[in-house]
């Protein structure tokens, strides 16, 4: 603070002191209560939030709630991301199911049209016989 600012502050303080001396006793009492209340709020941060919320709710009826809604954009963003995640997951499952079907389609068409019967692919004895024959 510069000397000039200090000088102005002192003058203001003097004027305020003079004016305060002329206040009525009831006015002084209400100012003391307000000061005590303000100091109490400073010592308890939760009490500072409450009046803000009350103020916002009080203004809701006159359209003041809407401008305050974007104060928590994280929730809407989160909901959007969660919905996107669900949609992406279901889309991925759809694609996988479709791909599985195409794979089975190709494989089964080849298997069923091959020159071996289905039993040959399921007969463990034949698999062992084949291995024995090829190992000779």
């Amino acid at each position: 603070m510069t000397s000039r600012e200090t000088e102005i502050a002192n003058k203001i303080t003097t004027y305020l002191d003079d004016a305060t001396a002329e206040l009525k006793a009831g006015t002084v009492y209400r100012l003391q209560l307000a000061r005590a209340d303000a100091l109490a709020r400073l010592s308890d941060p939760q009490r500072i939030v409450a009046p803000e919320l009350a103020h916002a709710l009080a203004g809701a009826g006159v359209g003041r709630l809407a401008p305050r809604a974007p104060q928590r954009p994280g929730i809407w963003l989160g909901l959007g991301i969660a919905l996107f995640a669900v949609a992406a997951g279901i889309g991925w499952q759809q694609w996988r199911a479709f791909q599985d079907t195409k794979d089975f389609e190709e494989l089964d068409a080849q298997l069923l049209s091959s020159d071996l019967p289905i039993d040959a692919y399921l007969d463990r004895g034949f698999q062992n016989w084949l291995k024995t024959s090829f190992d000779r």
Binding site: G74, D108, L111, L116, I118, D123, G125, F126, S133
Partner: protein, 169 residues
Amino acid sequence: MAQDVVRSLIAAVAAAFALAVTPATYAQITFKSPAWNELSPQERQVLAPLAPDWDKLDGQRKQKWRGVAQRYPSMPPDQQQRLQQQMQSWSQLTPEQRRVAREQYKSLKALPPDKKQEVRQKWEEYQSLPPERKRELASRPATGHSMTPMRPPQPPPQSGPTPAGVPAR
């Protein structure tokens, strides 16, 4: 406060994605499930062996068989015949048997060309083995990858319908 929000968001997204990719969700994915009468004449002709079981198939299986029917015209006549002959037997297998058969087919397909040509001949030779020898071979541990559950040694081939089972893909 901000950390709580971020933590909540991460949890919500993780839960949503986990829910979306569960097998239950996969199972609920719906394929078009046309009735037999809704198939084209060409599809009905190709898939005729499946007609009695068609209504038991789920949408995905029907979709697969319709795809097979689409491939059918491009196959040589002998393959077309084999495909139709084996369709019904295939549809009677359990899902596990189908899985085993597919795996075995893939492993035989990967054989060198000279050995691949021998497989059919080996099958004929195997068919002529005495039942005791077949049982002895079947009792040995499976070769290569898992082949359970396999069928027990089959009696000599016979014509006629196979017993009813689980409809197949």
